[in-house]
Structure formats: structure tokens, C-alpha cells
């Protein structure tokens, strides 16, 4: 009988049920979309922030104090310490290796440039000089790193310095090619395709082909950038580098992350090193690179953390507002559906049904509606979240079970709450006046 009444209620007034269900589905759709996007957005934005470049800088620990002005190191080549390039694959063996999305070693030497009158068309000569007017930078452009587990990881400056705008193309690693900064190119009349000679004292030197002209907005605009191996050979430091930029996906630092790991107890330390804080990633990199000093580029890391925290909070608030609105509208709709059934309730009570039975019956109906509406809403929401994710981040958020459970629970809670007040009143109805139409 119970089921029959419920089924009858749905069959007899399909339009009303449809409307209440639609309100529920729409409301829960908003909630699902907002929740899915909020859950996903942190990771996506963290990736976006990598367009700011490296957030970790590795330098030799035993280094003398660099005399760096405007991005140019004024120390002679033989001063200071270097780090071995052979250690670099170890970066992908640390606990957070999946968070390390790119790294590139740098070796710089100051050079002077000249365009001798007798030189072939637009050829330019570069030679090492302590008081030179430009910098020769050796780095990776897109370098395959052979990992200890046999895999390959392709990385280089194209990832750690994504803001460099290269006209033409990047150089090929080890192919005798180079790119030059805009300021350098303008000064020396270099065009794409020009030859560039690296002069040495002993031999004829090396010839490089200019494949691109780039702007970085920094000191690199006055530099020649080429393969690390070429510069290593040129300055006689094979297999060594001086600076390493690492770009890692991190979690915004909180107060806990800022604590000194040395003051933590074992449990705290484990929690700290198992969170991808920029400081704990720096710590684990330091462990695999002996003799290296790993520093967090505060400007990038802190700015990123601050903005990420704010944006995440903002989205949670928008989600909260959406949930609230959906809940209120759904509650209103289910309240309306109970109010209009006074006569029916009166009749049921007149026939001897207790308040409990009536309430139970109506609640069962609402619950059924909540499940159907919530389910439909979840589907709508997932589609919406996909559209949003694709449009904004070019990637779709994964549908998650947690969101589904939250949505169903919310739908149930909201419909029951929305019906509770009118139901309570309904249970106090005297059947006689209602049936008389009063």
C-alpha cells in the first residue's frame, strides 16, 4: 500500500514532480560543477604558475661570493666552484620526482664581441674576456636526460624560462647552434642564420649558427645562448655547471612549512617531507646533489603561494554561495510541494493514518525525488565542469566519487529540511476543516 501511494503520487501529478525534480537537478548541477572545478583548480593553477619559471635555484655550496650585477656574474671563470652535470638525473629519483617538471643547468662566461671589417657578411666574433660586453650562456634547450631507471626525461630552458620569446627557433642541443639576445643582435647586426665564431687562443675556434633571436626582458637580452656542452668545452670545464634552475609543482606554504625541519620531531618531519612544500622539495634535492646549496626563489614561490591560497579561497566561497542558493531554492520547492497537498494529508488522516505515517510517506516521496534529482544534477554538473575546465584550462576535471556522494547527501538533506517545516505543520492539521475546504 505504501509503495502504491508513492507510485500513485508520482503518476498522478507528473508535472509537479517534474518541476520539483528539475529544480533539484539544476541546483545540484550548479553545486556539482562548482565543487568539481574547485577541487581541481588548485592543481591546474599550480601548473599555470610554472609559467613564472623556476622556483628553486641550485648553486655550489663552496662557491665564493658571486659578484652578480643585473644578472651578470663579474667573477672570472676560474673563481668559484662548480657542480657536476652527471648528478642531474638524480633529480628525478627524489620522492617528489613527479613534481619536478623541469630543470636546466647554466654555465656562463663573459665575452666580448666584435665584427671585424674583413669578416664575411654579418659574421660575428666572440671571445672570452673578463671585461667583455656580453655573456655566453651554456644551457639545455630541450635535452633528453637518461634516468637511472632507463627512462628518458626531456627538459631544459624551454621549460624553466617559458617567458623567453624566440624569433626563429631554439638551438638544438649539441648541434653547433645558438640563439642570441635582442640587444646583442641589434648591437652586432646579427640576423637569423648568421654565423658566429667562438674564438679561442689555441685553435681556429668554433663556428655556431644563429637559429633565433630572443627577448627575455632581463640580462639575457645581451647574451648568446648555446648548448651547455659547447660552453663547457670552450671554458675548459667539461661536465660542469654553475647554476641550476628547477621548476617544481608545489603546495602553498603555510606556517607549518616555514618551520625549520631541524626543530621538528619525527612525526612532524614525516608530515613535512610528505607534503610537496617548496622547502621540502628543496630539502630532498639537496640530499641527492652533494655539495649543492638549494635555495627557494622567494619571489616566485611566495608570490605563487599567496595568490594560489587567495584564489582557492575565492572559489570555495563561490562554491559555497552556489551550494547555499541551490539548497534554498530546492528547499523552497520541496516546501511548496508539501504545502499544496493539504487536502491529501487531511484525507489520509481522516482515514486513520497517524501523523508519523503521513510524514514518513511524504518524506519517502521527497527522498526518491532527491535521489533522482541529485543523480540527474550530478550528470548536468559534470558536463558543465567539463565545459568549464576545457574552456579555461584546456583540460577536463576528473569526475570524482566524493563529489557524487556529497551531492547526493546534500540533495537528501536539503529536500528533507525543506519539507520538514511544512511537514510538521501538516502533521498537526485537523482533517475536518481541511476536508470542508476551510
Amino acid at each position: 500500500m505504501f509503495l502504491r501511494i508513492v507510485a500513485d503520487s508520482f503518476g498522478r501529478r507528473p508535472r509537479h514532480k517534474l518541476l520539483t525534480g528539475a529544480a533539484l537537478a539544476l541546483g545540484m548541477g550548479v553545486a556539482t560543477a562548482a565543487l568539481s572545478v574547485s577541487l581541481d583548480v588548485g592543481d591546474r593553477l599550480a601548473k599555470e604558475f610554472r609559467s613564472l619559471g623556476a622556483n628553486l635555484l641550485v648553486t655550489p655550496q663552496a662557491d665564493s661570493l658571486p659578484l652578480e650585477i643585473g644578472g651578470v656574474d663579474y667573477r672570472p671563470v676560474n673563481a668559484g666552484a662548480y657542480l657536476p652535470e652527471a648528478d642531474l638525473p638524480k633529480l628525478k629519483t627524489i620522492f617528489w620526482h613527479n613534481n619536478v617538471i623541469g630543470f636546466s643547468p647554466f654555465l656562463e662566461v663573459r665575452v666580448s664581441s666584435s665584427t671585424p671589417r674583413w669578416s664575411p657578411a654579418s659574421a660575428i666574433f666572440v671571445k672570452s674576456a673578463a671585461d667583455g660586453d656580453a655573456v655566453l650562456i651554456g644551457t639545455w634547450s630541450n635535452h633528453p636526460v637518461a634516468l637511472p631507471d632507463g627512462g628518458k626525461f626531456i627538459t631544459g630552458s624551454q621549460q624553466t624560462s617559458p617567458w623567453w620569446r624566440v624569433e626563429g627557433s631554439w638551438f638544438q642541443d649539441g648541434a653547433g647552434e645558438c640563439i642570441v639576445g635582442k640587444a646583442f643582435a641589434d648591437r652586432n647586426g646579427v640576423i637569423i642564420g648568421s654565423p658566429l665564431y667562438l674564438a679561442t687562443t689555441s685553435s681556429d675556434g668554433l663556428s655556431l649558427k644563429v637559429t633565433g633571436i630572443f627577448t627575455s626582458g632581463g640580462s639575457e637580452d645581451n647574451a648568446v645562448v648555446t648548448s651547455l656542452s659547447i660552453v663547457q668545452q670552450y671554458v675548459g670545464k667539461p661536465g660542469q655547471y654553475r647554476k641550476l634552475y628547477v621548476s617544481a609543482l608545489t603546495k602553498p606554504e603555510d606556517n607549518f612549512a616555514r618551520r625549520d625541519p631541524k626543530t621538528m620531531n619525527a612525526g612532524e618531519f614525516e608530515r613535512w617531507s610528505c607534503s610537496p612544500y617548496v622547502s621540502s622539495i628543496a630539502y630532498s634535492i639537496k640530499k641527492v646533489l652533494p655539495g649543492a646549496d638549494v635555495r627557494v626563489v622567494r619571489r616566485v614561490a611566495d608570490g605563487e603561494g599567496q595568490i594560489l591560497t587567495r584564489v582557492r579561497m575565492l572559489l570555495w566561497l563561490v562554491t559555497g554561495a552556489a551550494l547555499l542558493a541551490a539548497a534554498l531554492a530546492v528547499g523552497a520547492s520541496s516546501a511548496a510541494s508539501v504545502i499544496e497537498r493539504r487536502t491529501e494529508i487531511g484525507l489520509m488522516k481522516a482515514l486513520g493514518a497517524g501523523s508519523g505515517t503521513v510524514g514518513f510517506l511524504l518524506a519517502a516521496e521527497q527522498l526518491l525525488l532527491a535521489f533522482v534529482g541529485g543523480g540527474a544534477g550530478y550528470t548536468i554538473g559534470i558536463i558543465l565542469a567539463r565545459l568549464l575546465g576545457e574552456k579555461i584550462f584546456g583540460a577536463v576535471p576528473e569526475p570524482s566519487l566524493i563529489v557524487f556522494l556529497v551531492i547526493i547527501a546534500l540533495a537528501t538533506g536539503v529536500t528533507l529540511l525543506g519539507s520538514a517545516i511544512p511537514l510538521r505543520r501538516a502533521s498537526r492539521y485537523e482533517p475536518a476543516p481541511i476536508l470542508r475546504g476551510e
Binding site: 599555470e48 620569446r165 622567494r298 619571489r299 547555499l324
Partner: protein, 400 residues
């Protein structure tokens, strides 16, 4: 004639009053649905406008994003090509209503030593205004913090000798601690300062020593010259671009450009976030409207009996419809006004929670929210049009 019209109007309002008074529960439900919709609309609209502006201020966290350098940055030695300090006067303190912060730097390599150790090393000395350093060097850690101008200076700062802030690695090398006195030698000139702060930046600043501009100029024998000027401008990517080109025009003999690492990254992130915000808000608003509409339609549908009765006693379809639409519009007005006000207060609170600053209530949001609510309310009453075609008799027999 005029008399009859007046009576009609009086009757019209009387029926409306009764419609409201007839069922308190229903009235409450309708107001709740409309009001909550209006509240969310107002809160999100207000927050959305505000959040985008606040976001641009947040990018201040990345510090300086514009650099003014000598025309060709090929300076072969530190003091070769320099800017005139008077360029500082050409930088406005405000652009398009947003504050601009500029700080000059003069770099030189000097022999530095500390009174806490015997070692003497070569280090980069940067002359600047260290009280403003924390604003330009966003993200750098200062220990202790250099107090901003106007704040009460601690004892160390009030001492007569000039002050300096030392990068953490330079401090390690010099074995300098807070309060130590550093001495610099360069080309026969000598100057000294007290360490008031140690800087950790993760960048080249860790190797540098920052002190007053006057000391650096004196040591380098370069009066009123600076190496470069760092500027921190806030605003949307477009407004920063305009600022750079305006500045470049006013300084033909200097090279003004954005620090691409940050201007480009900021622009990209700003566009993503504001796109996300707009899309989320738009979807939430659209669906909230639909939700409210569905809830309202449900309520409207049960008006069958009223419609039947009105028609039975001779009301024309148009007049009956007009009655219900007027009722819906009034409800929308009331719900919108209450909800809109609540929403604006809500957004003030939310703004405080997210950005630490209350969102400025924008008056334009209020009428927009009210208008939207009225439209939704009237649209929700629209299904009643179908009810106009029902036959009164069948309603009373309880058939429909």
C-alpha cells in the same frame, strides 16, 4: 467612467493584497526562493567586480615588474653606463588610480669587511633606500623587518651611523650579525654602516649588501647617478602595458621594459583566473535563476482554483493574468530588495574573508540584482498563461 476605473483599480489592489495574505506559508516559500536567488546574484556580482581588482593588487606579491635601465644594457663594467637620478621625478606615484612604487639602485663592487671578523671579501654593494626595500623585494624575507617610513624606528635605526641590509650568503661570508658594523673600501674611499637586517631572497640579492644611496654614490664617486630603477606597478595586464609605454615615452634616453618573467606570467594567470571567475559566476547565476524559476513555477501551478473562480465570476483572461503577473512582480521586487541587500552584506563579509579587505559595495549591483529577480519572478508566473485556458467548471468539479 473615471469612477468605474477607480473602483476597478481599488478592486485590483484589494485582490492582490488578499492573494498575499491568503497563504502565509506559500508567501514565505516564494520570498525565500526569490530572496536567496537575489542574495547570491548580488553577492557574486559584487564580489566578481571586486575580486578582479583585488587580484591585480595580489600580484604585488611578485614585486617589481618594470625595470628602467640605461639604453644599452651592454655595460661592460658596473659603473659604465648609468642613469641620472633625476629620472625618479618623472615616475608618477599613481597610474590609472593604482599606486606605483619605484626604487633606484646603484651597484658597485667593493671590498667589504665586518668588525665581527677579520676576513675581507669582494661583494656587490647596492645603494638604494632600504626602508622601501621590502615593498620592491616582495617575497624576500627580512630579519628583522626594516620598518617602513613613518613607523617608529627601533633603536638601531635611530643611531647616527648609516644602516645596511645584508644578503644571507654575504652575511655568512662576512660572519656579520645584526648590529655588526661593515666597512667598505673602493678606490681609496671608505664608508661604514650598521647591519639592521638580513635578507633571504633565493636570488642574487642573497650575495649583495644594500645600503643608502648616498653611501654608494660617495664610494663610487658618482653623484646623482643610478644603475637602474625598479618599478612595481599594479593593475590589469593591459594597464601595465600602457604604463610601460607612457613611461618609455617620457624617458627617451632610458630603456623601459617589463620584467617579462613576471609581466607575462602575471598576465597569463590573471586571464585564467578572471576567466574562471566570470565563467563560474555566470553559470551559478544562470542556474540559480533556473532553480528559482522551477520553485516558483511549482507554486504558480497550484493557483488553478483561484484562476477558475475568477473566470467563473466573469474575469477576462487578460485581467486575471495581469493580476498574477502583478503579484509575481511585487514578489520579485520584495524578494530582490531583501535578498539583494543581504547579498551585498554577504559579499562584504566574503571579501573580508578572502582578501582581508571588505569588498566595496557597488551600488549598480543592487538595482541589477532587483531587476533580475523581478524578471525571473515574472517568467516563473508565465505558465499561468496555460491556466487561462482551463474551464472553471471542471476545476470546481475537481477534475483537472
Amino acid at each position: 467612467m473615471a469612477d468605474r476605473r477607480a473602483t476597478n483599480r481599488a478592486m485590483f489592489w484589494r485582490i492582490i493584497r488578499r492573494l498575499f495574505g491568503a497563504n502565509r506559508g506559500r508567501l514565505f516559500v516564494m520570498l525565500l526562493a526569490l530572496g536567496s536567488g537575489a542574495a547570491v546574484t548580488a553577492a557574486l556580482l559584487n564580489l566578481q567586480v571586486d575580486a578582479k581588482q583585488r587580484l591585480t593588487s595580489e600580484f604585488r606579491a611578485f614585486g617589481a615588474n618594470v625595470i628602467i635601465a640605461p639604453p644599452n644594457i651592454s655595460a661592460s663594467a658596473a659603473g659604465n653606463q648609468l642613469l641620472s637620478e633625476s629620472l625618479m621625478n618623472k615616475i608618477p606615484t599613481e597610474f590609472e588610480g593604482r599606486p606605483i612604487l619605484a626604487l633606484p639602485f646603484l651597484y658597485l663592487v667593493a671590498q667589504a669587511s665586518s668588525d665581527t671578523s677579520q676576513t675581507s671579501i669582494q661583494a656587490v654593494l647596492a645603494g638604494t633606500d632600504i626602508t622601501h626595500l621590502p615593498q620592491i623585494g616582495a617575497g624576500w624575507r627580512f630579519e628583522p623587518l626594516v620598518p617602513a617610513i613613518g613607523a617608529s624606528a627601533p633603536k638601531l635605526l635611530t643611531s647616527m651611523s648609516p644602516t645596511c641590509a645584508v644578503g644571507v650568503r654575504a652575511a655568512e661570508r662576512l660572519k656579520a650579525i645584526l648590529g655588526a658594523q661593515l666597512t667598505f673600501d673602493n678606490a681609496g674611499k671608505r664608508a661604514s654602516c650598521d647591519v639592521v637586517s638580513v635578507i633571504t631572497s633565493g636570488g642574487p640579492e642573497d650575495n649583495q649588501i644594500f645600503t643608502d644611496m648616498a653611501i654608494a654614490q660617495e664610494l663610487a664617486s658618482l653623484s646623482s647617478r643610478v644603475s637602474l630603477i625598479l618599478v612595481s606597478a599594479e593593475g590589469t595586464p593591459g594597464s601595465i602595458e600602457r604604463f610601460i609605454s607612457t613611461l618609455a615615452k617620457s624617458m627617451p634616453d632610458a630603456d623601459v621594459h617589463g620584467i617579462r618573467q613576471f609581466t607575462e606570467g602575471e598576465a597569463k594567470i590573471y586571464n585564467r583566473i578572471s576567466g574562471l571567475l566570470t565563467a563560474t559566476v555566470a553559470i551559478v547565476l544562470a542556474l540559480t535563476g533556473l532553480c528559482v524559476m522551477a520553485a516558483m513555477t511549482n507554486v504558480a501551478m497550484e493557483r488553478k482554483n483561484d484562476v477558475g473562480l475568477m473566470k467563473a465570476i466573469g474575469g477576462s483572461v487578460r485581467r486575471v493574468l495581469r493580476l498574477f503577473l502583478a503579484e509575481a512582480a511585487l514578489l520579485g521586487l520584495a524578494g530582490g530588495m531583501i535578498g539583494g541587500a543581504a547579498g551585498i552584506f554577504l559579499s562584504i563579509g566574503l571579501g573580508k574573508a578572502v582578501f582581508g579587505l571588505a569588498a566595496r559595495p557597488r551600488l549598480i549591483v543592487y538595482p541589477v540584482a532587483v531587476a533580475l529577480t523581478i524578471i525571473v519572478a515574472i517568467l516563473s508566473a508565465y505558465p499561468l498563461r496555460r491556466l487561462a485556458s482551463i474551464r472553471p467548471a471542471s476545476v470546481f468539479r475537481g477534475e483537472a
